[in-house]
């Protein structure tokens, strides 16, 4: 089921808000980190920007509306990557580590793969539906 323009715009705005929030959060965090900075924290905003704002804007301009499942999985992946990136930055600035932080990129990667897989399955379904003749016609 394809999403509406409104849904896509909602996701676009959500990612835009995420981008702005992460950029501000990174800047404020670095201000109080006594000169110790982390690229993870500084560039965390790039994830929702590159994976969310830009592709969604392109889709909107080209009037292509992806499946709802794809949008949900894709946005969830962006959230996982973004939070993981900011958290890794906080760990670096503090000078500590946590092996559980690896969960973020793993979860993000799985969600991203699932989103792409949903597109593949969906296009295959559409192809099947086109190739299958209507029963009434056959009769």
């Amino acid at each position: 089921m394809c999403t509406s323009e409104k849904t896509l715009k909602t996701h676009l705005l959500g990612n835009l808000a995420g981008t702005v929030f992460l950029a501000l959060f990174g800047a404020v965090y670095e201000m109080f980190s006594h000169g110790v900075y982390s690229y993870w924290m500084l560039y965390a905003f790039a994830i929702p920007l590159m994976l969310g704002v830009i592709p969604y804007t392109v889709l909107l301009i080209r009037r292509k509306f992806p499946q709802r499942a794809f949008l949900r999985l894709w946005s969830a992946a962006i959230a996982a990557f973004s939070v993981g990136c900011a958290f890794q930055g906080a760990l670096e600035v503090y000078g500590t580590t946590n092996r559980l932080a690896i969960i973020y990129p793993i979860a993000g990667g799985l969600l991203l793969t699932a989103a792409l897989a949903s597109v593949l399955f969906n296009s295959r379904d559409e192809q099947t539906q086109k190739n299958t003749p209507c029963r009434d016609t056959v009769r």
Binding site: V36, Y39, R72, A79, F87, L91, Y94, G95, T97
Partner: protein, 384 residues
């Protein structure tokens, strides 16, 4: 109904993400885990080995002397015979310095930074000279505001003003590296187990102490304390090794396992870094930093001038009175002290120097002059 179903996935996912982030934050910064609640043991085997090797050499020397006498040769002519107190034997400094006896008190001006330093840089604290115990009987403990001496340990505390920063230097001479000890917060090896440097120092009857490498903030990196391996996970980074013979060396932890290091005679190993000085040369660049960025911060460093002669250096920072040092400035300062090897320990809010029952420097935590809790300390004990 349809609206609720539409919101279910983003709601569940957001909750899961928040819950996991809260848990991992607590796990990193708050939840304490004790892996060894009675981490007060010491493995002094390396000192026994050292003494055995020394005795063996002495015996060899005596045998050679006796042999020479039997042959009618003047023993003093046989200069190639290794003598335990000679610095030019095959296995060098280990044996020489392990047999060092009573430490000599050093003058406050005797080890000051040289070359290119400001006139203020060599200022000694007021009263430090009057505390000097150069004429003291080494068998009797002497304690002053800026000096301490007993039969095995001599400590002199000096303050410098350099790079708009107050720097505190403890010059330590000991008869054996065994007197350079370490202790964990609450005598417990674990994660997020912390206490202030001064409280750990008091609990261990320390006369002088600085914060250690804050091993508890990381999940990897060698932790060898008082000859015992607590963590042997290598990270490919530089480790400062204090050997039983009183020397210090910086090795990469990929080169040796922690157990191998102990077998080689490592008494203490710290994993923080970077190395500041090696073989008397500065090893950090102008832009080197612990994390990223080139910032002036409070610092703690440890160095060795020669075997069993150490310096603990702590600088203030992040205040109007003291800007703090970059790693390069710290390395240059330590080079000026004449150290052969120097290593950066945990700094920032952790930097604390404790001497004779009080905190000497001005530790800064969240903008206030206050001690931060740390995992471990390096100290010289009163009971030594």
């Amino acid at each position: 109904m349809k609206g609720i179903r539409n919101c279910l996935w983003p709601l569940c996912f957001s909750l899961a993400l928040i819950a996991f982030t809260v848990y991992i934050s607590l796990d990193t910064f708050v939840i304490s885990r004790s892996y060894d609640t009675d981490a007060v043991g010491m493995n002094t085997a390396m000192f026994d080995n050292l003494a055995a090797a020394e005795n063996e050499k002495k015996a060899e020397g005596s045998a050679a002397t006796a042999e020479a006498r039997q042959e009618g040769v003047d023993p003093s002519v046989r200069t190639a015979t290794p003598q335990p107190d000679e610095a030019s034997s095959d296995s060098p400094e280990r044996d020489v310095y392990s047999s060092r006896s009573v430490p000599e008190r050093r003058s406050n001006h005797g080890f000051g930074p040289s070359g290119g330093r400001s006139a203020r840089g060599n200022q000694a604290p007021s009263g430090s000279e009057s505390d000097s115990a150069s004429g003291a009987d080494p068998s009797t403990a002497y304690t002053g505001d800026t000096a301490y001496q007993d039969g095995n340990v001599a400590i002199t505390l000096t303050t410098y003003e350099q790079n708009n920063t107050k720097i505190y230097v403890a010059d330590i001479t000991v008869t054996s590296a065994q007197y350079l000890k370490t202790a964990f917060a609450n005598n417990t090896y674990g994660k997020n187990v912390t206490a202030t440097t001064s409280s750990i120092a008091q609990a261990n009857n320390a006369i002088l102490a600085v914060n250690g490498d804050y091993y508890g903030a990381r999940e990897a990196g060698y932790v060898i304390r008082n000859g015992i391996v607590y963590r042997g996970t290598a990270t490919g980074s530089d480790v400062l090794c204090v050997y039983a013979d009183g020397t210090m060396k910086i090795v990469n932890d990929r080169e040796f396992t922690a157990d191998q290091l102990v077998e080689k005679g490592v008494w203490q190993a710290f994993s923080f870094g970077p190395a500041l000085v090696e073989d008397g040369s500065v090893t950090v660049g102008v832009r080197t930093e612990v994390g990223r960025g080139m910032a002036s911060n409070p610092r703690t460093a440890i160095g060795v001038v020669d075997a069993n002669h150490y310096v603990f250096v702590v600088s203030d920072g992040r205040t109007d009175e003291s800007e703090g040092l970059t790693l390069y400035e710290l390395a240059q300062f330590m080079q000026g002290l004449g150290v052969q090897t120097a290593y950066n320990l945990d700094g920032g809010g952790s930097s604390t120097l404790y001497f004779n029952g009080r905190v000497v420097n001005n530790p800064t935590t969240t903008g206030r002059i206050q001690e931060r809790s740390v995992s471990d300390i390096v100290y010289i004990g009163k009971d030594s």
